[in-house]
């Protein structure tokens, strides 16, 4: 049983090394190796989650012979175990669902490099989830940034090159801000390990020392990670990147990469700075304002799009706004709602991207609304998956999106003294209506009965995509129906963070 403590470390190393090996394998074998690595990591993460729930304490694992604060450490509690499992599931289903389209989009000679990126990104996501050391976090942020560029650019079209350059610039600015912030934190605390920094910062705040650098570093790290996860004013890279990448890349980018950054931000808030200091800091209001603006403006922009993938991309901006709004509420309930929304949004968004690729495959490989008319009749499973995903995004009962909206509203109402309450509730209502407008349009469009079929339609069975979409639907409904258990896990996990 105690052997399970080694699993996170095994998983990260296995995933990275198999990624390295992938670079010399032919595409077909690279795919198999990559899927094996993801599945193995999924199994390991399930074991870790089970172990942490069973023992109910968080475990520190020393990476090497030297204990902290001299060496590196990773640490896992319930929340880490759950999110690692969750990221592995998302990765597995996204890759499975998009494999067929991937083989069409990417030339055989280059496809092994795609799986290199997939493996390294999964390893980096796991490392970001498990890390107990700020600098380790930064190193794996770098791996994730470069890997994400590779995922966007691998399609090899001019537009995806431009999109990846945009992503690169914004993301590197974010990395720079994070690095500055880390240097400040190291300078004022003298530690890089999360728990030691927290102790030192606690003493510092009590003595009133170095308050200005502390606030600056909180601001820089928040803005840096917000840039990487496409919060509203920093979202300009997102629509192009999601639209012109291949569908698996879009699913991974939106559901795994940006969410891992947000998870790291929450972890830093709890484990590095200390959540009480964060709640009393003014920075959190900035996050709240950006989140609220993003919810409205992202939805408004989504209404005007005539391309399905672009519409989903703008809807992502709105949903990231929800998450930051939850963080910005400044209460434990808000954080919990934000974490739940990370889960429900990831599952729905990955499902929408995979379903959109299924719908466009039967409509002449175009994602324009004019070509997509009636595509749900040609690919039934993708149509149903899109329907479920859209309903979850709007927030209808029985889906994950409903539960997260309920928790957001509850988190706002539970704190009636705050001026944020009324803004949150009104924005939630407006944003839900706007969501309904653009998703209903998409659903009506894809379910429109058409007599004349477009030319060059490919009709083939794609069992892997069908399986992935069905699994996504089941996961979404499980999130909606069995939400109590998951919320309880998240609450316990947040309690372990301190």
């Amino acid at each position: 049983m105690d052997f399970i403590r080694n699993f996170p470390f095994f998983g990260i190393f296995f995933c990275m090394s198999s990624g390295v090996i992938n670079s010399i394998l032919p595409g077909k074998w690279a795919k198999r190796v990559s899927l094996t690595a993801i599945t193995a990591n999924l199994a390991a993460s399930v074991c870790v989650a089970y172990y942490t729930i069973k023992t109910n304490v968080s475990t520190v694992f020393i990476m090497g012979h030297h204990p902290a604060p001299w060496g590196n450490e990773i640490r896992f509690g319930i929340l880490e175990g759950c999110f690692a499992t969750f990221f592995c599931i998302i990765m597995l289903l996204s890759v499975l669902g998009g494999i067929k389209r991937l083989e069409e989009d990417i030339s055989e000679k280059r496809s092994n490099l795609f799986y290199v990126m997939v493996n390294l990104i999964l390893a980096a996501a796991l490392a970001l989830v498990y890390t107990n050391d700020l600098f380790t976090g930064y190193v794996f942020i770098e791996i994730m940034t470069i890997g994400a560029c590779g995922l966007i650019v691998i399609r090899g079209e001019g537009r995806s090159l431009v999109a990846s350059v945009k992503y690169m610039i914004m993301s590197l600015i974010g990395s720079g801000l994070i690095l500055i912030s880390l240097s400040i934190i190291y300078d004022i605390t003298g530690h890089l390990l999360m728990s030691n920094i927290q102790e030192t910062i606690h003493v510092m705040v009590e003595n009133g020392q170095y308050l200005n650098p502390l606030t600056t570093s909180i601001a820089l790290i928040s803005v840096g990670l917000a840039m990487k996860s496409a919060l509203f004013p920093f979202h300009s890279w997102l629509p192009d990147a999601y639209t012109y990448a291949t569908s698996t890349s879009s699913a991974i980018l939106s559901s795994l990469i940006s969410k891992a950054y947000i998870f790291l931000l929450i972890k830093i808030y709890y484990r590095v700075i200390g959540i009480d200091i964060i709640f009393s800091n003014k920075m959190i209001n900035l996050m709240f304002a950006f989140g609220i603006l993003g919810m409205i403006i992202g939805s408004l922009r989504a209404i005007y799009q005539d391309d399905l993938k672009r519409m989903i991309a703008y809807s992502s901006v709105a949903q990231i706004g929800y998450i930051y709004m939850g963080i910005g509420l400044g209460t434990h309930a808000g954080m919990m709602a934000a974490l739940f929304h990370i889960m429900s949004h990831s599952i729905s968004k990955a499902m929408l991207f995979i379903a959109a690729s299924g719908l466009s495959t039967v409509s002449g490989r175009s994602c324009k609304y004019t070509h997509l008319q009636g595509s749900a009749h040609r690919n039934k499973v993708a149509g149903i998956a899109f329907l479920v995903g859209a309903l979850s995004m709007i927030g209808l009962p029985l889906t994950g999106g409903f539960i997260s909206k309920v928790y957001f509203a509850q988190a706002a109402i539970n704190d009636p003294s705050s001026w944020k309450m009324i803004i949150t509730v009104i924005t939630l209502a407006i944003s839900t209506l706007l969501n309904a407008v653009y998703f209903m349009r998409a659903i009506i469009c894809i379910y429109q009965p058409v007599k004349k079929l477009p030319k060059n339609i490919v009709r083939r069975k794609d069992y892997r995509m069908t399986f992935a979409l069905l699994a996504f639907i089941v996961a979404n409904i499980v999130l909606g129906v069995k939400s109590d258990a998951i919320v309880q896990l998240i609450t316990f996990g947040l309690g372990m963070f301190n």
């Binding site: 990476m63 030297h66 055989e108 190193v139 470069i146 170095y210």
Partner: protein
């Protein structure tokens, strides 16, 4: 048996039923329009035409006025505002960072937060615990080896992405041979093909550079140096050799296969040796790797091996970047 109501058509249900089936009769009411004389009709027609014409003219004027407004005025205005705001935000960030710097601990004070038990132990017990005389090597390859593991994979993934972008024939596999030939032809357009001064100097310098690079890697745990710097030196030597003698000569001993073999062996060696070390360390198992006598060349446990691995990866990555940027393929 009920008989149909006589006034069924007038009842509410009857009306609803007709509306439902779209049968509601068109009701004709007398209208003034039906009784116009030809004169009146013509007048009306001409008035309509005149009005339409006026409206058209107005629309044309408006169109001429506003059609190019966004291009001529709107976009420049937006850009001006955008630039002003961008500069203001930048200045605000710079000022707040400068203010923050004034609040940081003063550099070089003995009681700064960074001078705590962490750096103290690195300095005082570094040699005993890692066996490396060079404390920096001991720190990055033993105390914080996980970070360096990630860092060498950053190099690897960067090289992979450069491969994706710059390798010839992106998207179009068929034309790759032509493109290769064209690139090879263009390769030496702007420089002399076989510069004898360069070649002579390279013949003298490259062996020295390689030997120095190997020295820096191998003595990384004893003195200043290590895998990253030594690898960069060897990579620079390879680039110089390529610059002087061209691809034909260097491909006798360094091809794509060599590149892949070396960098992947390096990374896997790193992963396996460090996995062993982490596993034994975390589970409290005795590690069989001896630390040796500090100061000897074969000492400091895994650090020597790791330095060689990192050096190989760095040298290959540097050379690979150069080749891909220059020719697009090995």
């Amino acid at each position: 048996m009920s008989k149909p109501r006589e006034n069924y058509n007038e009842s509410v249900w009857g009306k609803f039923n007709r509306w439902l089936h779209g049968l509601s009769p068109i009701e004709y009411k007398s209208s003034r329009q039906w009784h116009y004389t030809d004169e009146e009709l013509r007048e009306k027609f001409e008035a309509d035409i005149a009005r339409a014409h006026a409206a058209q003219q107005k629309e044309k004027r408006l169109y001429a006025k506003y059609r190019y407004w966004p291009d001529k005025k709107g976009v420049p205005l937006y850009e001006k505002i955008y630039r002003v705001i961008a500069v203001l935000v930048c200045i605000a960030v710079i000022i707040s960072l400068l203010i923050m710097v004034a609040h940081l601990p003063i550099v070089g004070q003995y009681d700064n937060p960074v001078n705590n038990e962490v750096s103290q132990r690195y300095i005082e017990q570094g040699i005993q615990e890692t066996g490396a005389v060079n404390i920096v090597s001991g720190m990055i390859l033993d105390y914080r080896a996980f970070d360096t593991f990630g860092e060498s994979h950053v190099l690897f993934i960067a090289a992979s992405v450069v491969f994706i972008i710059l390798r010839l024939g992106i998207g179009k596999e068929k034309e790759i041979e032509e493109e290769k030939a064209r690139e090879a032809e263009n390769d030496r357009n702007f420089e002399p093909a076989n510069d004898s001064i360069l070649q002579m100097i390279t013949r003298i310098l490259v062996p020295i550079i390689f030997i120095f690079g190997v020295y820096v890697i191998l003595f990384g745990h004893l003195g200043p140096g290590g895998g990253f710097s030594g690898g960069a030196i060897i990579g620079a030597g390879l680039i110089l050799y390529l610059e002087a003698f061209g691809f034909e000569k260097i491909e006798k001993f360094f091809t794509l296969k060599t590149y892949r073999a070396i960098s992947i062996t390096g990374l896997l060696c790193y992963a396996i040796s460090k996995a062993y070390s982490f596993y034994t360390g975390a589970n409290g198992i005795h590690s069989i790797i001896p630390l040796g006598t500090p100061g000897h060349i074969l000492s400091s446990g895994l650090i020597l091996v790791l330095n060689i691995c990192v050096g190989a990866v760095v040298a290959c990555t540097m050379y690979g970047f150069y080749v891909l940027f220059r020719k697009g393929d090995f």
